[in-house]
């Protein structure tokens, strides 16, 4: 398979197919999943900034 042994040829294709799966999923859901910013999100980021200052 592709000049490679079966196990390696198989995974060579699986790598490409899994990357295509990620690309397909990402493109199909490109504009989905937007969420309104909640108070807890803002508080979380503010707290994160405080923690950063400690460092």
């Amino acid at each position: 398979m592709l000049g490679l042994g079966f196990g390696v040829g198989l995974v060579y294709l699986l790598c490409i197919l899994s990357a295509l799966l990620c690309i397909f999923y990402g493109l199909v859901n490109w504009n989905r999943g937007d969420e309104p910013v909640k108070t807890e999100d803002i508080e979380w980021v503010e707290d994160e900034e405080k923690a950063e200052e400690v460092l």
Partner: protein, 567 residues
Amino acid sequence: MHKVLLVLVVIVGVFLWAEPALAQEAAAGAAAEGMHINLSQTITVIVYLMILGYLGYLGYRRSKTAEDYLLAGRNVHPYVMALSYGATFISTSAIVGFGGVAGMVGMSLLWLTFLNIFVGIFIAFVFLGGPTRRMGHHLGAHTFPELLGKRYNSRFIQVFAGVIIFLLMPVYAGAVLLGGVKFLSVSFGMSLNQGILLLSVIIALYVVAGGLRGVMYTDAFQGSVMFVGMVVLLVFAYVKAGGFISAHKALAALQNSPAGGGLVGYAAMPTFGSKWWWIVISSMVLGVGIGVLAQPQLAVRFMTVRSKKELNRACAIGGLFILSMTGGAFTVGALSNVYFQKTAGKVAFDYVNGNIGTIIPTFIDQAMPKWFGLLFLLALLAAAMSTLSSQFHVMGTSIGRDVYERGIRRKVASDRLTRLITQAGVALAIVFTVVLTWQYAKNPKEPIIASATSIFFALCASTFLPTFLLGLFWRRMNRAAAISSMLAGFLMTAFWLTFMQVKPASALRICGWLFEKKSLVAKMPWPVVDAIILALPLSFIVAFVVALVTKPMSKEHLDNCYSTVSG
């Protein structure tokens, strides 16, 4: 500024104590065989640094407050988002360490690339990212141990996880650092000691001077350089090996060196059940491929995205990026055998005298134009910086926020002490990492970068994965089950590494000291089977059994954890 000086003095002190010859090396270093950068290469470096500086300034200027950060999220291009992830997660360990292993064992390591993409990107981004972010924000958790601790309402879990991460993440950080050092030593002719000293000083400056969190734009730029560089490298490797199918056929015609142990060629899987089959599949592929789901810095990164939309978009770009980076590095590592065989009559392992970590740097140094090698080196070092800075960040917060604040601190203690302990924790972690790297460098003929990375990933998976996964999706999962699962996974892994798996057991020397044996088991394949094969299933079984025979946590607590965790 005094903190920077303190860390630098400690690092230099450790080196001078550990390696008296270093002073002599340093004196002769500049005149060594490397260090011959011409004008065009100097200009390349300066332009690169100027772009980095400008992008860093741009990122800093664009997000100053919490609201800015959240709103700016709308304007951040998904390409920038995904590439910044990539530059953080793909480091010198993957490219130099695992790429070198691919140069020795062949393309069977592509199974790790498959898991990197399918598990590390697709499953992580599609199924874990959103719930982790929502639960983290809802519970006000900022570290991975804190997320677990709040989900299970357990101080012990947070402190235990914090201690494990603080003490053991240097094992992985040292591997990342050594990967960068190997590249420096090949490209600039530095000795390993000089490389370790130089890189650790740069990292200390970068981290202590305030670069703990990589700025998104600079990370994305570095990710882009790595991405383009790896694609160019991959194309060159194929061209120099005679073309796509011809390269594979030429590779298939070569015999591994060293031979034996089940290696039957660079284009074939090791013999099923052989020593190398177990090392490749159990340690390299499963250990790292699954362990990525329980990486503390990955979970923290999910919490910093603004919405699921960013994760969806990053999935597309991340899949392509990882295919190029790890798939590219492993393929180039394997194909370098064809190149070295053609040009020097030796396969890669023999050409580099068994120094596996130098296979990829040597191939780039010899087969590619010098300017390309320099640019790739800069991007790679930058990637190492991104990964290391996020690791030191996690180690610092583990000791300051998780262990001290949650485990030790009482109301009388001051914030100032928390700050001091966190900073001391970061400094200690850097020094510990440097010492470990120096130890690693003493065994150039072992695949130490890949092995150390695998050990840490497998340890995280066995200790944290059931608690993390079941905590996100299963209301029945409770505190007793989480503690039992974490202890079972950790102790089983520690036992296996100390007494059963021959390489780590030999390195730790406890088994030899107690029993005068390298491993308590001699019958193959047990001495080469990775701990994750036994410890992860055990950890899951313990979690399920204990959760089912003990009382669930209170409805109020679970409602608080899950009220926003759906879909």
